[in-house]
């Protein structure tokens, strides 16, 4: 039977394009590390008829301090959570992480207060254990993080790290370190398209090139304001496609925020099995991030990560 009607495919004529950022080995690297590129989309997320860009990637979260771990989320790692290098290895070898995201929580002055040099050693150990690109964060304490990240950047000059994070009030030290060691940088902003743009402008004025910036517009977790992030992400992607150069950088979404909701990890008979529920709580947050424009996700649960890896392939039609 010959169809009588032709349904048009409403392909937009976007004038802009998301830029790409390469992570992993630098020119000075030993050449062993994988290089992965993100970004490059010429359309809205996963519309193959508008242009897919590079594959969206998943970074597995590793923390160097076990005191605040959510047990259900990291259960599949067993004892490996006590050793960042072993933990990172399991992420890559068993659970298909494309990158590792290391949080140096041990440096927190209100906790263990580990010195920056020790933290940098941890990063080197993780780098030695895996051959994928690595993201490194401090502990969230502004002054300490400046020192920690400077030390990390200097210690890892041979590898192209992605350093977290540059914020409106704290970006100079980390940006300077990133520039001198050819590291890429996360530009964090607070759930607002204008602030996201402002942050990229600040960095570019400071001399950081777009090819070294990944922006993090703050991904709120499921049930914790996810809808705000979903819309901010969509607006950022659209602005980039419409030609706003200051928003044409790939987007990172930290979906471990999902674990802030009590439904993700609280035992409750009427809510069903907590392992299955937690997995989908984070996976749903991740899917919302992907569908609204994320290029790179930071994920905590390996079960959620596997769902998301499969979803990315499937959303891209196997590409």
């Amino acid at each position: 039977m010959v169809p009588m009607v032709e349904v048009p495919v409403p392909k937009e004529k976007w004038s802009g394009k998301v830029g790409t950022v390469a992570l992993g080995a630098s020119t000075a690297d030993d050449g062993e590390r994988k290089v992965l590129s993100i970004g490059g989309e010429t359309g809205m997320p996963f519309l193959s008829y508008e242009g897919l860009g590079n594959r969206q990637l998943i970074a597995g979260e590793v923390v160097d301090d076990t005191s605040e771990l959510i047990e259900v989320a990291v259960r599949p790692f067993g004892d490996a959570v006590n050793d960042p290098a072993a933990w990172a290895k399991r992420w890559v070898e068993e659970f298909g992480a494309d990158l590792v995201c290391l949080r140096l929580r041990s440096t927190n002055p209100e906790g263990k207060d580990a010195p920056p040099e020790d933290a940098a050693q941890t990063v080197l150990k993780v780098l030695a254990a895996v051959d994928v690109p690595v993201i490194v964060y401090g502990c969230g304490h502004e002054e300490k993080d400046a020192r920690t990240m400077e030390a990390v950047s200097n210690a890892c000059a041979k590898v192209r790290l992605l350093l977290g994070q540059a914020e409106e009030n704290a970006y100079k030290t980390i940006s300077a370190a990133a520039m001198s060691n050819h590291h890429a940088l996360i530009a964090f902003s607070n759930l607002d398209i204008n602030l996201a743009k402002q942050m990229n402008i600040l960095l570019s004025d400071f001399g950081v090139k777009a090819e070294n910036i990944v922006m993090d517009p703050l991904m709120a977790g499921l049930g914790m304001g996810l809808e705000y992030s979903y819309s901010v992400n969509e607006r950022i992607r659209m602005a980039a496609l419409m030609g706003d150069r200051m928003l044409q950088v790939p987007m990172l979404c930290d979906v471990t925020s999902a674990w802030e909701a009590r439904e993700a990890s609280e035992e409750n008979a009427t809510w069903g099995d907590v392992v299955e529920r937690g997995k989908w709580w984070e996976a749903a947050t991740g899917l919302a991030a992907l569908v609204s424009g994320a290029d790179l996700l930071i994920v905590r649960s390996p079960l959620a990560a596997m769902v998301l890896q499969d979803a990315i392939s499937n959303l891209r039609g196997g590409k």
Partner: protein
């Protein structure tokens, strides 16, 4: 909506004033801004009426399934992105019962359907519909099962069958209120369309190629059925996202009006059913049809729907004021929080859990969370002190204690000054509240 000039062209141009406006043009202008009804002009022709109705029809038709308080309304959307305004009719979820299921299996499914009901931030999140599937291929067996399910559950139904006779049999076996017939395909279109028209039931139309689907829809319309739901036959995530987007965008942009109907995503038997359900919820799905729904999947799915369908302009909020929890009296302490629903219900729930009597002062922060309100300058020692005054909280609690959110420790000094109360900095997470209250 057509413009005033477009409407004017279709009016009788008598300028007789019977519509309560002096001229036809004045009337047309009122019509264009929805301030008058076409029926107020006694002379308007049937042809003009039909034309106006067609051009003012919403881009996506509103479809009602079921009746009464459980009825389901889908469609009538106007946006592609929720930030442009909002999404109006939330995705609805259905689970299926086979007409070959044993008595016990049916009871289990019905029990589950009734149990999939959760309260979150003051809203009820629940399963919306039940589908009965004609696996037996026997009209009488199907009718029996439909009868049983409609007797034991008040949820709107989906009649899943390839056979118009089975649909008719179900309809005559019992009194059904507007179930959705699922589905018309190229194989059964004549019979299904005739049954839908006769029974006045909405009809789902299924085909996995959009051109063919548009063809089918035209046929169904020609047969006199207007209430249509589309199944785009998506098998995986990419197809769900792309086809739903194409159909929605064409309808809203009016680049193609033939598929201006709500979408049903059938994930039964699909490898990635849960992910498909989540994607369809974010991307324009009207109904998601599933074999079953485990509570561990239902909770994240329902909450995602709640998030996506929240009005971007209005956070879900509660009324500011002083709330008594666990029968407080003069000796009970005051705690304060914000009027963002998520925050309020979390905190109130934790106080209830403690079983300790307390007064919960809810400060109006226009629906912002604690830190968001604080950063936006909407939660200050002054606004808290003012809320204490206006609710006469101190007349109700004579204890002289004010417990504040842990995130606001930096506010404690000023608050103590402004209120004269002894300020206790509570835990950062409200889950720590029971422990604190018991220690007082």
């Amino acid at each position: 909506m057509p413009t005033a000039i477009e409407i004017f062209k279709l009016l009788p141009k008598k300028n007789c004033g019977k519509c309560n406006f002096p001229t036809c043009l004045a009337f047309a202008m009122q019509l264009a801004s929805s301030k008058a009804k076409l029926a107020d002009c006694p002379y308007v022709t049937e042809e003009a009426k039909a034309k106006l109705e067609a051009s003012s029809a919403p881009p996506i038709r509103l479809i009602t399934i079921g009746a009464g308080e459980n009825k389901v309304e889908i469609g009538d959307e106007t946006e592609l992105y929720r930030h442009d305004k909002k999404f109006f009719h939330a995705t609805r979820y259905a689970i299926a019962i086979s007409d070959q299921a044993s008595d016990r299996e049916v009871s289990v499914k019905l029990r589950r359907a009734a149990d999939l009901r959760f309260e979150r931030v003051g809203q009820i999140l629940a399963l919306d519909m039940l589908a009965v599937r004609n696996d037996s291929r026997d009209p009488a067996t199907f009718a029996e099962m439909v009868k049983r399910v409609s007797r034991e559950s008040a949820l709107p139904l989906i009649l899943m069958s390839q056979d118009p006779e089975a649909v008719r049999a179900a309809a005559s076996a019992t009194n059904l209120s507007r179930p959705l017939i699922y589905a018309a395909t190229f194989e059964n279109i004549e019979g299904m369309a005739a049954a839908a028209k006769e029974l006045k039931y909405p009809l789902a139309v299924r085909h996995d190629d959009l051109n063919g689907l548009a063809d089918l829809v035209e046929k169904v319309k020609a047969a006199g059925v207007e209430d249509i739901v589309l199944d785009l036959g998506a098998e995986d995530l990419q197809q769900t996202l792309e086809r739903n987007t194409i159909v929605r965008k064409n309808a809203i942009r009016k680049t193609f009006r033939g598929l201006g109907y709500p979408i049903l995503t059938n994930v039964i038997g699909r490898e990635r059913g849960m992910a498909m359900a989540l994607i369809s919820t974010m991307k324009y799905g009207g109904i998601v049809l599933m074999e079953d729904l485990d509570p561990a999947h239902a909770v994240p799915l329902f909450v995602l729907r709640q998030n996506i369908y929240t009005d971007p302009q209005v956070p879900i909020q509660v009324k500011a004021g002083l709330y008594p929890i666990n029968n407080p009296d003069k000796d009970s302490p005051i705690l304060f929080t914000v009027n963002f629903s998520l925050t309020y219900f979390t905190v109130a729930g934790d106080i209830e859990k403690s079983r300790m009597p307390a007064w919960l002062l809810v400060v109006d922060t226009e629906g912002l969370s604690v830190l968001t309100a604080f950063s936006a300058g909407k939660l200050t020692s002054e606004t808290v002190a003012e809320a204490l005054r206006s609710t006469e909280a101190m007349a109700k609690s004579g204890k002289g204690l004010l417990i504040i959110p842990g995130m606001l420790s930096r506010m404690s000094g000023k608050l103590q000054e402004a209120t004269g109360l002894k300020v206790i900095v509570g835990p950062k997470e409200s889950s720590g509240i029971p422990k604190l209250l018991r220690s007082l």
